[in-house]
């Protein structure tokens, strides 16, 4: 039976309970990189700002490429840690049972390989908890622009403050169909200018936009028909009409209150309904409430494609770059390629070209630029590539970083023009004259080579890829 290495870290050693069952550890770094069977117990007794301390400890673990799946438990419940802790106040047997379950789940996964790439590392972590804590849950975070944060994500993207956007990371994974929405948690409205959820709803004078106004009760004198604010009628302990001097004693007989209205202390205008608008506390802009952008906050779960990516040990980058609706599975792409060849065989004017793009140095780029900058660079790259392609062009990928584009009704010369433009993107995405991302592209006219072949396969495409 597999043995687990139980380790305890006390946040406040002075208050820690006596320990005979676990190996005591003072620095997290000392337990990283050793064995995959470590189970960490954090003793929170007497700790001030326990949540922050726990976050810092767990962040180191989750950012480690070797031990990012380590189960972490607490000796007592600490608020705002439920999203990323495997359990609290559990017995040793219960903790071991969870650790065992996690271990069982990832037995077919190459943990070290998956730990090299951020997105894959995160979804591998989610996959490992599919029997214990399968959901990526947002928690309320007032400091965050989105009012919520995916704390589990923040651990992985090495986020310290709340200016980094766990939502952008989640959205990327969702766009790649690696995770899907599980349950609607909340709905927020954010500023259309800076996407901040920190909005204050204020009512304004509809005439001069001032917030300095007050509600006035109006009185209607039955004797003369005068309608005026109540203050104009007040005379010591009586109500006297300012117009006809009638003493108003009985509501319903002498006077009534037709409505409540507002008087602006700046422009002195009378109005019935103030205008309600939102004021963004981050950028200071005033926004009409119907212009606020509605954002739905979901809990997430790993999709089938995500599970497949974890087991496969690879996330396809195709979703970042190409239009999803025309980005095909490799086998289907090959099948279509075969069909194009047959078409060309029958109809000589049905020419087509095949372009291959290879994007290299992704890992180095991530290490240099950081994941967020790399994501932004990919966004820009994807936008430019999509702009170059037509609606009828189809794409696929035969590896993590190798993509194929099928250009129908395009001669070799046309494909070569696209190829040169694609190569030109390398200069655009790399700044400071440094070559962070390497982009290689080549156009092929494969008809002559494959017209006698029975079937186009991924293997055949790999042969072509090797040629450049």
């Amino acid at each position: 039976m597999e043995q687990f290495n139980m380790v305890r870290v006390a946040l406040n050693p002075e208050y820690a309970a006596a320990n005979t069952d676990y190996r005591e550890c003072t620095a997290i770094e000392s337990i990283l990189g050793q064995t995959h069977n470590t189970v960490l117990l954090i003793d929170v007794t007497g700790a001030e700002n326990a949540a922050q301390s726990i976050f810092a400890v767990v962040q180191k673990i989750r950012c480690s490429g070797h031990d990012y799946l380590m189960p972490v438990f607490l000796t007592a419940d600490v608020p705002n840690t439920e999203a990323y802790i495997d359990g609290c106040a559990l017995s040793t047997a219960e903790m071991l049972a969870i650790a065992k379950k996690i271990k069982e789940t990832i037995k077919n996964v190459d943990v070290i390989k998956n730990g090299q790439e951020l997105g894959l590392r995160f979804i591998t972590y989610v996959y490992s908890r599919k029997d214990t804590k399968p959901h990526i849950v947002p928690t309320v975070c007032i400091e965050s622009k989105n009012l919520y944060e995916y704390e589990a994500v923040r651990l992985f993207i090495n986020a310290g403050g709340y200016d980094s956007d766990s939502f952008a990371f989640i959205n990327k994974l969702r766009d790649k169909k690696l995770i899907v929405n599980e349950q609607l948690i909340d709905r927020i409205r954010v500023c259309p200018y800076c996407s901040s959820g920190h909005t204050n709803y204020v009512d304004f004078c509809p005439v001069c936009d001032s917030i300095d106004f007050e509600q006035k009760k109006m009185l209607h004198c039955f004797t003369c028909g005068n309608v005026a604010p109540e203050e104009e009628y007040r005379n010591a302990m009586a109500l006297i009409c300012p117009k006809c001097n009638a003493r108003l004693r009985h509501i319903g007989s002498d006077y009534d209150r037709p409505l409540e209205s507002y008087v602006c202390n700046k422009c002195f205008e009378l109005f019935i309904d103030p205008v309600v608008a939102a004021v963004c506390l981050d950028c200071g802009k005033k926004i009409a409430t119907d212009r606020l952008i509605t954002k739905q906050i979901y809990s997430m779960t790993l999709s089938d494609a995500g599970e497949a990516a974890v087991i496969r040990g690879r996330i396809d980058l195709g979703a970042d770059i190409f239009n999803q609706s025309r980005h095909l599975d490799i086998n289907y792409f090959c099948h279509l390629l075969g069909w194009m060849v047959n078409l060309r065989r029958r109809y000589s004017d049905e020419i087509f070209s095949l372009v291959c793009i290879r994007i290299d140095k992704l890992l180095e780029s991530e290490n240099y630029l950081g994941i967020m900058q790399l994501e932004k660079t990919f966004d820009e790259l994807g936008t430019r590539i999509r702009d170059m392609l037509r609606d009828t062009d189809l794409t696929t990928n035969s590896g993590t970083n190798v993509f194929w584009i099928l250009l129908p009704r395009t001669p070799l010369s046309g494909g070569q023009i696209l190829t040169s433009r694609l190569k030109g993107l390398e200069k655009l995405v790399n700044s400071d004259n440094r070559r962070y991302i390497s982009i290689a592209a080549k156009c092929f006219d494969i008809f002559d080579d494959v017209k006698d072949e029975g079937k186009i396969t991924e293997q055949l495409l790999k042969e072509y890829e090797k040629s450049f």
Binding site: L239, R249, H250, I251, G252, S253
Partner: protein, 432 residues
């Protein structure tokens, strides 16, 4: 015209004779009473003119006893919210038999939101699911009252917006234990009967009570609109079961008038409550049948305390006058009419009645004019009603006859047990 000329000499001689017959009654009862009222009105007015206004805004609890008023309770609550009163005011809505009076309960609940918009105003709604009667509702409200002053009102009344302030100011004087407010008829212009009742209220309340108040002889704090210092109500242990609870509690409070020095009940003519009155003669007579019979019942209950030792001489004399008016005069009026028409010639009877009529018409008119001039806060409404004064003596005779029947019914049939103040299963158990 011919008949009048024919009978002229007879009438003239009969008139003189009848006037002489009536002289003792006028000299020894009506005139002194009238003079007393007039003198009292001027005394009250003088005191009013010399009054130094000293603001006094204690916490006030308004107990609104509801039953089947339905949405009418909204008007009551609205007019309480309209009070121009800087002090704290809580409105306690007691809905008797709330299970069967859901409309009243929901109407009261619908006003909670509005109450919240008023500073210094709170409202409690106490649904008594099973009907227990007005007195049980009032006592429940008293138990929940947190104010220093308690105002008990009906669920279909409304008030002038200075009602609370006018009443509360009197309690700055620690000797004041109760304030009798003024009652006006809200539906006065509906029918001839409501017009006559509005004059009756005006003369019977505004005229008389100003005079009584001047001598600390206020006879009754109305149940529809009664204002008390909470401590005195608690001292007499709240309202008693049975009918005429207003007269009953007034007498029980007055029983402390000589045991505690200088206790006073005052009347404030400007603290005004508006209430609807019966619109048909039948409804009016039915209502008065209940009210007039209650007096006999109350006297029976309080016979022991109707002494100068407990009430003090002024209030004892007031109680005697009241007893004469309510218990002696009605049968006397009835007998008078029987004897008149049976034993005296028709011409004489008519002449006598004519003299009586003219006498009361002049008296009422004089009192009415004086009251409007001295005390009316709505002269533009009161002056036009003067044209109905010629009908008042006849109306009063009708009322007196009805009172006579009511007294018989109370004596013979225990009429108070038929009261609608409480359900029969409560009334039958009442010890009083």
């Amino acid at each position: 015209m011919f008949e009048i000329i024919m009978f002229q000499p007879i009438i003239n001689s009969q008139i003189i004779s009848s006037m002489l017959t009536l002289a003792p009654f006028i000299i020894f009862f009506e005139l002194p009473w009238t003079l007393f009222v007039v003198f009292g009105m001027f005394k009250y007015k003088r005191a009013l003119q010399h009054e130094r206004y000293q603001p006094h805004y204690p916490a006030v609890s308004c107990i609104v006893c509801c039953y089947s008023e339905g949405k009418n309770v909204i008007k009551t609550i609205e007019s309480l919210l309209e009070q121009i009163y800087p002090g704290k005011m809580e409105i306690i809505i007691v809905v008797d038999g709330a299970k069967d009076n859901q409309e009243t309960l929901f109407a009261a609940k619908s006003m909670m939101e509005m109450v919240r918009k008023y500073p210094n105003r709170t409202m409690k709604i106490l649904p008594k699911w099973v009907r227990g009667g007005l007195v049980s509702g009032a006592n429940l409200g008293l138990r929940n009252a947190t104010g220093e002053i308690v105002i008990r009102v009906d669920g279909d009344s409304s008030f002038d917006n200075n009602m609370v302030e006018r009443a509360a100011r009197h309690f700055k004087d620690p000797s004041v234990v109760g304030v009798s407010g003024n009652l006006r008829v809200r539906n006065a212009d509906k029918t001839i009967w409501t017009k006559l009742q509005s004059i009756e209220y005006f003369l019977g309340i505004t005229s008389s009570k100003t005079a009584l108040s001047a001598f600390n002889m206020v006879n009754n704090i109305s149940g529809a609109f009664g204002i008390f210092r909470k401590s005195i109500i608690q001292q007499v242990q709240g309202w008693d079961a049975g009918t005429a609870e207003d007269l009953d509690i007034t007498l029980r409070v007055k029983a402390h008038f000589t045991s505690e020095l200088n206790y006073r009940i005052v009347f404030d003519h400007e603290s005004v409550c508006h209430t609807d009155v019966p619109e048909t003669l039948h409804q009016y007579l039915k209502q008065r049948m209940r009210w007039e019979g209650d007096y006999y019942y109350i006297v029976s209950k309080h016979l022991y305390t109707l002494r100068p030792k407990y009430l003090g001489w002024p209030n004892f004399i007031g109680a005697i006058i009241r007893m004469i008016t309510n218990l002696v005069l009605p049968p006397m009026n009835f007998l008078f009419l029987i004897v008149l028409f049976v034993f005296y010639p028709m011409a004489y009877s008519i002449a006598l009645l004519l003299v009586v009529y003219i006498f009361y018409l002049v008296l009422n008119t004089a009192l009415y004019i004086l009251t409007v001039v001295l005390f009316s806060e709505r002269p533009e409404e009161d002056w036009p009603r003067i044209i109905y004064l010629p009908l008042m003596p006849l109306f009063m005779v009708l009322s007196r006859l009805n009172a006579f029947l009511a007294n018989i019914w109370e004596v013979v049939g225990c009429g108070h047990k038929d009261s609608t103040m409480a359900p029969w299963w409560v009334l039958r158990k009442t010890k009083f």
